[in-house]
Symmetry: D3
Subunit: 156 residues, 6 copies
C-alpha cells in the first residue's frame, strides 16, 4: 500500500483492475455475524439451510461480500479521491462457505461535478465472480476526485 496522487484527468473509462482470489470461509461468516449482530439461520444454522431452506449449505451475508469485495479493490491511497457511496448493489447469486471470489473493477464513467468546477466524479463498476465464473454481486463505487488543474492554480 502506498500513497499515489491521481487526478480526475488521469482516470479513463474502460480501465479495468482485477484482483486475485479469496476463499470466503466459515470463519469470515462467523466474524461477520459477530460484527453485525446478524445471526440469521441462512448464515449460522447448517441444519436449517439444508433441511428447511433447501440450500446447499450456509451462505455468506450480503454485507460480508460487499465489504470484502470493496476491500479487495483498495489499492493505492489516493489523497485526491474520496469514496462517497455506492449505487445499484445487487446480490445476483448466493456465496456459499468455501466459495472463492475474485473482483473486477472497471471505470464506467468520468464526469464533471454538477456544481463544483474543480471536482469531478468517477464511477467504478465492481463485479464479483465465484470460482464457477458466475457473477454473485455487482455494484457501482462512487468517487469524488480533484482535478489536476487545481495544482496549476486555475481553480484553487
Amino acid at each position: 500500500m502506498q500513497v499515489v496522487d491521481r487526478y480526475l484527468e488521469q482516470y479513463e473509462v474502460g480501465e479495468v483492475r482485477r484482483t486475485l482470489g479469496r476463499t470466503i470461509t466459515e470463519a469470515d461468516v462467523v466474524l461477520h455475524a459477530g460484527q453485525t449482530g446478524d445471526f440469521f439461520p441462512h448464515h449460522m444454522d447448517e441444519r436449517w439451510c439444508v433441511e428447511e431452506a433447501g440450500l446447499a449449505g450456509r451462505i455468506a451475508h450480503g454485507t460480508l461480500i460487499v465489504s470484502v469485495a470493496v476491500g479487495m479493490t483498495a489499492g493505492d491511497v489516493n489523497p485526491q479521491a474520496m469514496s462517497y457511496g455506492y449505487d445499484r448493489i445487487r446480490f445476483v447469486k448466493p456465496v456459499f462457505l468455501g466459495d472463492t471470489i475474485t473482483v473486477e473493477a472497471e471505470i464506467v464513467e468520468v464526469t464533471d461535478h454538477p456544481r463544483r468546477s474543480e471536482l469531478g466524479r468517477v464511477d467504478e463498476r465492481v463485479t464479483v465472480t465465484n470460482q464457477h465464473g458466475d457473477t454473485v454481486l455487482s455494484l457501482v463505487h462512487l468517487y469524488v476526485v480533484n482535478k489536476l488543474v487545481n495544482k496549476r492554480g486555475e481553480h484553487v
Copy 2:
C-alpha cells in the same frame, strides 16, 4: 430472533422502525480491517489522521457502518421476503471511533414486481445517525416479497 411470515400486502409506506444505539469501537474497526484487508491510514493510523489529514482521529470504514447498520435492522426472519440489494448508499459524514450510532428504517415504497404478478417489491430507507443527531449514512434496502394471495391459490 424469530420466524414471522409477512407478505407484501402487510407492508405499508411510512412504517418506521428505530433501533437502540451502538458505539463503534476501535475493536470494530480493527476487526473490519482484518475482515476486508482495507488497512488505509484513515482507519488504522492515528498519527496520520491527526497530523496529516487534519481529522479529529481515525474514522470507521464505510463498509463497516453499512454492515452494522443493516445488521441492526435485522429483526424477525421473514421467509416471504428476500433482500436483493441496496440503492443510493451515501456516506454523509465520517463516523469516528467512539461515536454511537442509531438506525431508523422506513418503508418508502411498496410496488408490484414488474414482471411476476405473485411478487412485489418493498423499499426501506435506512438512515444512520450519530450521537449528535447528524445523519452519517443513508441507503435504500431492497426486498422482493411474496404476495399473500399466493397462499390462497390465485396466483400459484
Copy 3:
C-alpha cells in the same frame, strides 16, 4: 432488539420461548479459546481428541455453550429485570464442532423477593439441545424483577 417493560406480575410459570438454531463452528471454538485462554487439547488438538481421548473430534468449551445459549435467549431489553446469576449449570453431553444447537427457555418459578416487597424473582430454565434432539446443557437463569405495583405508588 427493543426495549419492553415487563413487571413481575407479567411473568407466568410455564411460559416457553424457543430459539432458532445455531451451528457451533471451529471458528467459535478458536475465538473462545482466544477469549478465555483455555487451550486444553479437548478443544484445540484434533489428533489428541481422536487418537488419545477416544472422542469423535474436538469439543466445544462448556463456557462457550453457556455463553452462546444465554445469548440466544437475549430478546427484548427489559429495564424492569436484572439477571443476577445462574444455578445448576450442567454439561450433559459434549457439543462437537459442527453440531447445531437450539435453546428452550421456560419460566419455572415466580416468587416474591425474600426481603424486599417491591421486588420478585423469576427463574427461567434454559435447556440446550443438539441436532439429534439430545440435551447437551441445562441451567437456571435467575432474574430480579420489579413489581408492577411500584408504578402505582404503593411501594415506591
Copy 4:
C-alpha cells in the same frame, strides 16, 4: 500447560490457587457480543449507559466474566477429572471496561460420588475480584474425579 494426573485422594479442602490479573478490555466485550449475539446496550452503547442507565460506562457481559474467570483457572490438564457443571453463579458487582480482575479458586468440598464408589466429587469455589478488591463474581465449579484406588485394582 501440561498433563498431570491427580486423583480424588490428592485434593484437599482449603487448597487455594490464585491467578495473575487480566484487564477486561473493550475488545473483549466486542468479541463476546459477537460470539454470543448479545448486543444489549449495557455492553454496546456508551451513550445509553451514561445518559440513560446512570452507569459509569459500558459493563462486561456476565457470561464473559464467567468464561474468562474459569479460563484463568485452567492450569494443568488432569485426565482423572472432568468438569461437569457450575453451581450458584452470582453476579455481585458489574465489571466495567478497563477493570482488572483476578481469580481465586479454593477447594471447598471433596466427597464420594453418591452412586459410584470408584469416583468422587470436588467442588471448587471461584471468586473474582476487581482492582479495588471488590468481589464481582462467585461460582462453584464442579468436578468428578477418579479415585487413586482404581489404579491399585480394588475397584477397577
Copy 5:
C-alpha cells in the same frame, strides 16, 4: 500461569520442555491475515493453491506458526528473564490448515553477558513438529537473565 523467579544459574543446557498439540485451523489463518494484512493467495485462496500453485491446499502464514509456537512455550512468568529476540528462524516445511503442531524447547546455551557481569544469556532452541513427525519450523529464542548472585549483594 504463575510467577516463578528463575536465575541464570538455574538454567541448564540440555533441559527440554515439550508442549501438548494444537491444530492450526482455517480460523487461525483468517484471523492472522486480518491481524497482519497479509492476504497472499497461499493463505487465502483455496482455488489458487490447488489449481495454480500445486499445493495440497492453503498454508499457514510463517509468522502465524512463529507466534503460536512461541506462545505455546510461554509457561511461568519469570521476572528475572527478558526475551530480547530470536535467531535463525527457518520455515522448513509448510503447515497446512488442519495440521496439528507440537513444540519442543531445549536450552542450548547458557553464557555470561559479554559486557554486564550481573547478567547472562540463555538460548533456547524451539522446534515445531507436525502430526507426521516432520519438523516444520525451528528458531532460537534469546533471553537475558539475571544472575542469582545479584540477590546476595555481590554485584548489586
Copy 6:
C-alpha cells in the same frame, strides 16, 4: 495486491521500501493473546504493568510486532521468490498500546545460492520505528529467488 515476477538479477542492494503507519491497538493485543495463548501480564494486566512492573502501560507481544511488520511489507506476490526465514530478530524497545509504527525494508545482500546455481538469496533488513522515531524492532527477512537466466534456458 498483484502478481509480479521478479528475478534475482532484478534485486539491488540499497533498494528501500517504506510503509505507511499503523497504530497498534488494544484490540490487536487482545487478538494476538487469543491467537497465541500468551496472556502474560505485560500484555494483559494494566494494573500490574503500571503498579508492579513500572511500565507506562501494557506492551505489545514481540510476535505481534514481528507479524504486523512483516505483513506490512507484503506487497506484490512474486512467484519467483520464497520467504524461508528470518535472522537476528531483536526487540529494541517496547511498543505500547496506541503507538504507531512504520516499517522500512532495505535490500542488504544479494548473493548466489551456495549449492544451486539457478537460485540466489536476497536478504532484506526490516526496521520498525515508532511515532517518536525510535527503532523498536529489527530483523533480516530471507528469500530464495529464481535467477532470470532460468527462463533463457541456460540453467533449466
